[in-house]
Subunit: 364 residues, 4 copies
């Protein structure tokens, strides 16, 4: 079940970059959630490449079809299958990589593990397979919305350029206004310039994506091995190109004293809050009712047009490699959509597991 | 199965800080691994508190008993149960926390989720429950050793003090020579001083623990949802007090260009290597044969003797809290043992899943 | 993951009788298995209705498309997705069942559990969804064939008519020669007549399907909760209309003494055999190298044209029901294909889990 | 996780017949269930051998200790660990079986799979390990009782002697009154005589155990692979010596027409019932509110004192075997306790999964 994640709300992903289709089967969504193709399509459109200079110029329509799981406009408790057929494939770009793995790209791992590897467009190692995540995430988001949970992801850093922090609603609004999907419009401009300059050099650049979920009740997460932060860390680290995951204060805790970062409690309107949120909404693996804050470190796209050293695995000799193709000079903007989808999947699963959403019928 | 982790090599953890016992059931260890109590005890002793000024002065013997799974000195393929009975408990220290959650401690989450919460010593939210991790990790380490895989964890940062990097064998040796379990003996001294000064202030300090595994073959990890990095991120984030996880270059990828950090391939003695290892031994979720490098950010112990604001959940009113008890002024030194245990558990699981270790009998 | 089964070789089923499609995602099939559409289609054709008087006259083409998981004619270790689009649907037949559950049919359970239920053709409760099982089973069978494991299912009883037992190869040949899929051609004739007479009466009849797997090595099955017989019992009982599962001597053990049915060991050509096989190839949950024998009791199709008492769930009052539609007068013939698919899925999973088939690459 | 079963309410079993202990870790029981040692002990006492002529004369105290999971007399949502230390072991009885597997006993499977096998008393293949099932079942039963679900198992057949059927309460009362645990006191006498005569002959006899659960609401079970009947079939077939499982009419459906056995609906007091219950309370994999009825076929104890043919696996030559030891002449009486425990475990799991029992706190 390597391609399935989640216990009560689970996602099975399938497909590859240059095969017939990519998609996902979502199992465990309770019945009676209103859901149509458009709910999913609008999320896919945010992830779609070819919409600006900072992403790959590949034009993919990425039109989703729902094959199962909806009856009379609502989910019916059976598996929901969403499929996107692949259209715009340039397989000729890739034949040269058949025996020559691209540095820091998944090629070598797939080749050595499976023997038979679809090297075209990275096959199943391609970022394109996150279409399945986004399909599932769109459903999860809609499900969470019924309980007033909302999620937004934004790029908060590209290279040395950092975004100023903004409140949830401003970020939600601003990410739709710039191609980088940054919540700070000024920083967004600088980020865009930096990305384009790297693109010009035939290089690529990394960054950080932050995801905030508001409205999450206290009590999600089951210690000690199905903690909410552990489940988030897994699904986020599983996203292509991610090399680090943080919750709340993250790595800054290393240089902090408890007296500086402990989140003290207070009461307002008969509810419990913490005056700070360096815990990022999760303590001891369980949500505490404050916003859930996670961040991922996204590495620069490994496919660059600069010449790199590699090896020919058939001849077992050194071989230089230059990658043409059409690649994102920065993965972060599109990764925001995958990050928020991933967080939504984990939260939907835990909301059901913790008794906040009925497992089979939303109307109960 | 919230307290079970692993697919083929799995660990079920049980027990609480001030209950009768803590322990773990390890299922899926193949038969014919030589194993005795001492193999486990020596790992537990590294985690044992009360051995220096930088850990809690609680004296716990932490003697393990094996209840099942060994026949004639070897594993027999059945579940291995290891138990440590609790002895040195000061339950009187904790009654004041019954209704008043300690800031940034698991209390509030456990109370709100389960209603009935053993607040004594943090109950199951206590760091003490990682004894189960260490029991399981000791078995995993011994199993991995049969395939020449070795793992070592060290403290690489406390507050602003950072260790210089050293080679694997030096680190392995040095961590046993200082109370901080740092691989750089000079830095260790400064770290120890910093921790003791924080202890003096009634405060605590965070840090970073790095784990390196050498000898891991290429091909571990199953994309897209059971990637090796995702599984590592989950088990590491699930450790108490961890707020961040990195693989390889980690968050430094955010400020890097691909041309700077891509790991280029070369051949030596007919084997494939990369000339750098910013990937930390994992690309595309699959190991590439290079050392597996992970880091965790460990927050300062939330239990400090300084006065903090909290709330009384019964009376629903503000209540200040001062925590006496006996607490580690820094979690990192003992967390190293839990980190390497956790990494060992994941690697053992994946070595079996990937066909490198026979699932039922080591002699096949 | 209610629609996913299997640990290393896993199947996720989706779709409904009158929705757009039915199908399955098969995850964990190692790379380098030669596989094409025809391998799957030929199994689906055996299950296809409308081919004789003893099955429903619905004509369904049931043409499978493979959406993912094959590269250059071989599996590549990624999920294999097989889809059959639904064509021949008579939704008008079913509107009368919207609020009136058919006796002994899944309707009532689905209605009460999910609220929103696709009553057309039984929705996901339809036997039609076993197309997913057959797709997965075809792949499992091909995988097992590489290790010389073969499986055949036959009808051995319909009403009071029982088949004489025959050797494996004869059964394999004979089941293709008669519409009942019985291994005894004479009994097959009598069974066919009995079924047609029941059809004439507007009634239906039950029976027993036996599945034999030969070539299975000793050592499959992991006690105590993932025993081979337990896993077979689950997947077989999960088939629509099955009310009983037996291994080997089955319920006849109730009237037996150990001295009569114990399987004694002997040696031939330096291999271990048992002189009888009342254990059905599994003792203590683990295969012993003898043929694996299972049987399922299949109830008569609950949809019959005779008038039956039911209730209107909306009005909450009694309401008689007469079911027209086009239904199999006996489920057994088509159930043989589902039974052998199910057994194949479990065996494929356990062959990988037990180290007999490499988990990622058949060529290793 | 071969020794773990259940998704939300899960059981991890450990231990062996002649090792230090047997037991189980129960994970997922919600907090605030009143539970003490006596609740478990009284169930273990029913399973305890040495209490009559129809069971083994081994005297085992089987005293359970709870190591974790209870706080102030109630469950606290953390794993509950129950352990029984082994005392009355006659290891000398077994050395002769080291290389000579007993016919129809698990020996050979364990030897061939694991290589290192604790042949003493059958090791983990022993019926003794069902103590773990009973510990878990006792907790599950107490949990179900809070929702008015009750379960009782009885022996309904030994050899050719069958019990007359009785209502639930009579059966519950009667099983405690006779050593065979049959609900029909007259049949019980005849069964006892038959068993004792087989014991006299150095032989053993099989039988059938029926389990009825009342009070189970409609809607448990998740098609298509986590159906309630499939989950019951798995856990029941996983019990030692079980060779068949039936739900409701079971194998009798083979000789039935739908018009004879379909369960028609009616309304009483505004609730839905069926006038018959040949479905055994489960249709289409989902419970329908009627009593859940299952039956298992239990083979005669394979360990008999009559001489049998076996082989010496070391010398690879024929070797006759005569088994002395102390064995049950019929497994059925004690199997009733294991059967009802197993059914309770599955129902507890599904009650949580279906939203009828809160997953973390009974008081919510």
């Amino acid at each position: 079940m390597a391609n399935t994640i989640g216990k009560m709300f689970s996602v099975t992903s399938f497909g590859s970059s240059h095969g017939k289709a990519v998609g996902a089967v979502i199992d465990g969504c309770p019945a009676n959630l209103e859901l149509n193709t458009e709910d999913i399509q609008k999320e896919l459109d945010k992830r779609k490449p070819g919409t600006s200079g900072v992403t790959t110029p590949r034009k993919e329509e990425d039109k989703v079809q729902i094959l199962s799981g909806i009856f009379e406009g609502k989910t019916d408790g059976t598996p929901i299958t969403g499929v996107v057929y692949n259209n715009n494939q340039h397989s000729k770009d890739y034949s040269m990589f058949k025996n020559t793995p691209r540095p820091s790209h998944g090629d070598y791992g797939w080749m050595s593990k499976y023997g038979n590897y679809d090297y075209n467009g990275g096959g199943r190692g391609s970022g394109r397979i996150t279409i399945g995540h986004v399909i599932a995430g769109a459903i999860a988001k809609k499900l969470l919305k019924t309980k007033n949970i909302e999620i937004v992801s934004q790029v908060i850093q590209i290279g040395d350029i950092m975004a100023h922090s903004n409140d949830f609603d401003t970020v939600k609004e601003n990410v739709e206004k710039n191609s980088v999907r940054c919540g700070d419009l000024e920083a967004a401009k600088a980020m865009e310039e930096l990305i384009l300059s790297k693109k010009q050099e035939g290089d690529s650049i990394g960054g950080i994506v932050e995801t905030v979920a508001v409205g999450v009740p206290a009590g999600l997460g089951e210690p000690v091995f199905e903690r909410l932060d552990g489940d988030l860390a897994r699904i986020l680290m599983n996203i292509n190109a991610v090399k680090g995951v943080e919750i709340g204060f993250g790595f800054d805790v290393a240089t902090s004293c408890a007296s500086e970062i402990n989140d003290e409690y207070y009461i307002e309107d008969n509810k419990i809050y913490t005056s700070t949120n360096s815990s990022g909404g999760i303590i001891g693996g369980i949500s505490n009712g404050m916003p859930i804050i996670s961040r991922i470190a996204v590495k620069p796209t490994p496919s660059i047009s600069k010449c790199q050293k590699s090896v020919n695995l058939e001849k077992m000799e050194a071989e230089d490699i230059t990658i043409q193709g059409r690649h994102d000079p920065c993965i972060c903007p599109r990764a925001t959509v995958v990050a928020q989808s991933s967080v939504a999947i984990v939260l939907a699963d835990h909301m059901i597991r913790s008794g906040y959403i009925h497992p089979s019928n939303l109307e109960i």
